[in-house]
């Protein structure tokens, strides 16, 4: 008998439980729709802007050689020697004293106020400032590029946080059942009873000081209920599949089954929900910033740009460009979400455009 079990234990786990082939199939199905791909590409572009914001828009050059010293990436390293300089003083110095400089594509920093002789307050789109300037003479494009960073950080950061909490709690509830399940279900119901923006606003307001990470934490800790509910349902569903029964018959440890077989196969819908969640989190971030309870003022954010626009009549570029950026980002995330939904469960067609 023991002999037999030992031999059974060596039987490779059925391939159907492995995610690799499934993932490839999902990716292929996803990419087959041009709209999905377009959404994904745009989202990747925004993410790239967010990651490389300092290289794209900065008040310091990407690299320069001045007075015999080579500065590499002063836009990120911010050397003390160049602390008082910006792109234009360096450019002038280079012209006068020799050397060279490589300016970023947008030669303004996100918090760089009125540059002498170049940027006016509330200037409309021009060659120097394609998206105009705001009421402090800051370049709107530069602020938008850096605003992408706030949006992406809050969007992805908070969703990663609440996905972790939600998956853990949902899986535990489904796995242990009984009292654990009941407690988790009540927790979920309690949390989803709070109007999320109200709760987040109240917490943000009561906490007072606000940083991006605090925003990530507050959104992450208050919005995991949907993911938990979804994970629980999916785990319960997958647990009845034949391959799980097979794994159990092989005598594998229940936690191993949960981790290796059940969870990977129940992540599809959760992934879809999380994708839409990113759009939701970005919307919350911009709404909070719009209301003045998001990221603190010097940090650029799209919502904050829109607040400024609300305060200054007649400057359409302040309303239009950040608004469109926000809208396009949300659209592309929703496109990716829809595409994923379809790729994950091809049966659920119909909600398609």
């Amino acid at each position: 008998m023991r002999d037999l079990l030992e031999r059974l234990g060596r039987i490779p786990v059925p391939r159907i439980g492995r995610p690799s082939g499934r993932v490839r199939r999902i990716v292929r199905r996803f990419a087959s729709q041009p709209l999905n791909a377009a959404g994904f590409v745009f989202l990747a572009l925004v993410a790239l802007f967010a990651l490389a914001a300092d290289l794209i828009a900065s008040d310091k050059p990407i690299a320069c050689r001045l007075d015999g010293t080579l500065y590499v990436l002063p836009c990120i390293a911010r050397p003390a020697a160049l602390a008082d300089d910006d792109n234009f003083t360096i450019e002038r110095a280079v012209a006068a004293r020799g050397g060279w400089t490589l300016l970023p594509p947008v030669p303004f920093g996100p918090t760089q106020a009125k540059v002498a002789g170049r940027a006016g307050r509330l200037g409309g789109p021009s060659r120097a400032h394609p998206f105009g300037t705001d009421d402090l003479g800051r370049d709107v494009l530069a602020r938008m590029v850096h605003g992408a960073r706030s949006a992406m950080l809050v969007g992805f950061g908070s969703v990663v946080l609440y996905a972790l909490i939600g998956i853990l709690l949902g899986a535990l509830a489904a796995y242990f059942g009984g009292p654990t399940d009941r407690v988790v279900m009540r927790l979920i119901e309690t949390l989803s009873s709070f109007p999320s923006l109200f709760l987040i606003l109240a917490v943000q307001g009561l906490l007072g000081v606000s940083t991006l990470w605090q925003l990530v934490a507050v959104i992450g800790l208050t919005r995991w209920s949907d993911v938990a509910r979804l994970t629980r349902g999916e785990v319960l569903r997958v647990a009845t599949e034949d391959y799980v029964t097979a794994a159990r018959a092989l005598g594998l440890h229940p936690l191993h089954i949960l981790w290796r077989h059940v969870l990977p196969n129940s992540m599809g819908p959760v992934l879809v929900a999380c994708t839409f969640g990113v759009a939701g989190a970005i919307l919350i971030e911009s709404t909070l910033s719009f209301l003045g309870f998001g990221v603190p003022p010097p940090t650029p954010s799209w919502g904050q740009l829109l607040t400024e626009a609300f305060g200054s009549e007649g400057s359409y570029w302040l309303t239009l460009f950040p608004g469109v950026a926000l809208f396009a980002t949300i659209v592309s995330i929703n496109l990716v979400g829809e595409g994923l939904r379809e790729a994950v469960s091809p049966k659920a067609r119909g909600a398609r455009l």
Binding site: E189, S192, S193, L197, V203, G205, L206, T287, E313, G350
Partner: protein, 535 residues
């Protein structure tokens, strides 16, 4: 079915508990900087200075269980031990004197056991109290104060009985009874718990005036009404006294017997919070000192009106749109609607609201809709129908901004729901028996296809309430959202906690109602019914 509803209602209880617990945790985590929220009430010489702000949040109490109740008896005992120490003696004397007559039944019996300086200090404290209980002249005339107090307590000790104090207060409230008043004055702060109890339930103007006068004299916290004070002002005074008493009841009350056992639970921070929720007494707004409940009563209807209209708009448009899309699946109408809905679904509502205010609200562009408030200034004198039209005119933009995302989402769900049923056998049967296409869809298809959308009713409510903050702020509508916005700026904990709790409870009730509606529309969801249906 009824059993299912009862079960569903019962399942609300733990959730409700969870809600109170969650708000409690938030409250306790966040009340870290109380200096920002002190009400700035002047302290009178008879009041306990300091610790004020901490106490207004109940921060002097333990979180969930209180085995060491800090009531009047404990406070007197502590003061007496502090009398023995030369360094704390003065403060302890002042503390005892400030509490007034309430300490007499605890301090006087312990006099014989005190020695030396401690006894002198205790007598000093009692001497100060004697002014309040009206025996100062007799005390001055007596050669031996300690013998005087012994005699005093033998004669008048039985006056310090809760039942007697309560009876006297009732008499004072009912008739303008001079005798009762003077008797109460000799009891001093001992009668405060009963004054507070009667005061809270008192509607009669003159009676309230007498009680608040007495309370002001006893506590030195000047806040009395005149017999002719208007009703609103009276309610405010009552609310302020209630708040004050909530904080300080344990200064003047001794918990005995059963009260002491119950006190282990009731004298805790969580219980204080729970009792506020259960009685809907959320205290006074720190922004303007008005009762939070009264402000909620003004603000909530506005937000509810917006939400209900938004729901009507969202459902009223989403159901036909979704149904038509499903009927014309794949055709031009379906495709155009789908793209439009998808875009609508992705639009940030605050941005749309901003654009609408700017370009339709008359700021130099089209002046189609008023952009601020709910009524044209000076419209009070208009005839009712014109005011109603004015209100409707003001509501168009806010309701649209609040509901278009819900509308887009619901329409998409409605389309999917309709597609589910449109090819079913019973639809073909309906057509075969001679119904026209539209009649079949309306009578048989829609009834089943609408179920998933109806069940989303409960989910919509928190969403709309959340959205109201933004919409009310942009359109300057005096609803709950706007007040919340201002409350956050002023760090008005009382309002914030009340609003979070009330909206959470509303949402929970909404979800349960939606479940009930679901069960009515589709009996299969009731667990007990499933078998019958399958059979």
């Amino acid at each position: 079915m009824i059993l299912f509803l009862i079960k569903r209602l019962l399942s609300m209880v733990p959730t409700l508990f969870g809600i109170t617990l969650a708000t409690f945790v938030v409250l306790n985590l966040l009340v870290g900087s109380p200096e920002s929220s002190s009400v700035g009430e002047a302290l009178s010489p008879r009041e306990d200075p300091g610790r004020d702000v901490r106490r207004s949040y109940g921060l002097d109490l333990p979180l969930f269980v209180n085995l060491d109740i800090d009531d009047l008896r404990a406070r007197v005992d502590r003061a007496v031990t502090r009398l023995a120490d030369a360094r704390t003696r003065d403060a302890a004397v002042r503390d005892l004197a400030r509490r007034g007559g309430a300490v007499v039944p605890f301090l006087v019996p312990s006099l014989p056991s005190l020695k030396g300086e401690t006894k002198v200090a205790a007598l000093d404290a009692l001497k100060r109290i004697s002014v309040h209980i009206g025996v100062d002249k007799a005390l001055a005339a007596s050669p031996d104060p300690s013998a005087f107090w012994k005699r005093y307590f033998e004669t008048y000790g039985s006056d310090f009985m809760p039942a007697r104090a309560a009876r006297l207060v009732r008499r004072l409230a009912r008739y303008d009874d001079r005798l009762a008043l003077s008797e109460l004055r000799t009891l001093d702060t001992f009668c405060l718990p009963y004054v507070m109890e009667t005061l809270g339930a008192q509607e009669d103007g003159p009676a309230l005036a007498r009680l608040t006068r007495l309370a002001s004299d006893l506590t030195g916290r000047e806040d009395a009404v005149e017999p002719g004070t208007p009703l609103k002002e009276r309610a405010l005074v009552k609310a302020r006294w209630r708040e004050w008493w909530r904080e300080r009841d344990s200064d003047y009350t001794a918990y005995e017997g059963a009260g002491r056992v119950a006190g282990a639970v009731t004298q805790t921070r969580y219980f204080e919070w729970l009792s506020r929720i259960v009685t809907f007494d959320f205290g006074l707004s720190m922004r303007d000192g008005r009762p939070v409940l009264e402000k909620l009563g003004e603000r909530l209807p506005v937000t509810l009106l917006l939400s209900v209209l938004a729901l009507l708009f969202a459902y009223g448009l989403a159901i036909p749109l979704g149904t038509l899309s499903a009927v014309y699946r794949g055709r031009a109408f379906d495709r155009v609607t789908a793209v439009a809905l998808f875009c609508l679904y992705s639009l940030p509502s605050f941005w749309v609201a901003m654009l609408l205010v700017r370009y339709l609200g008359g700021a130099g562009h089209l002046d189609l809709f008023p952009a601020q408030g709910l009524a044209t200034p000076g419209s009070q004198g208009w005839p009712p129908w014109e005011r109603l039209a004015d209100l409707a005119h003001h509501l168009v933009l806010p309701v649209f901004c609040l509901s278009f995302v819900s509308m887009a989402m619901l329409a998409r769900y409605q389309r999917v729901g309709m597609l589910e049923v449109i090819d079913r056998d019973y639809m073909r049967t309906a057509r075969a028996k001679g119904l026209s296409r539209s009649a079949a869809i309306l009578r048989h298809g829609l009834r089943n296809g609408v179920v998933p959308v109806v069940t989303m009713l409960g989910v919509q409510l928190p969403y709309l309430v959340s959205g109201s903050v933004v919409v009310e702020q942009i359109f300057g509508i005096p609803g709950m959202g706007q007040e919340t916005f201002e409350a956050i700026r002023a760090r008005d904990h009382a309002w914030l906690m009340a609003v979070v709790t009330v909206t959470a409870i509303m949402t929970m009730v909404g979800v349960v109602l939606a479940d009930a509606v679901y069960a009515l529309v589709d009996p299969r969801v009731v667990p007990g019914r499933r078998r019958e249906v399958e059979r």
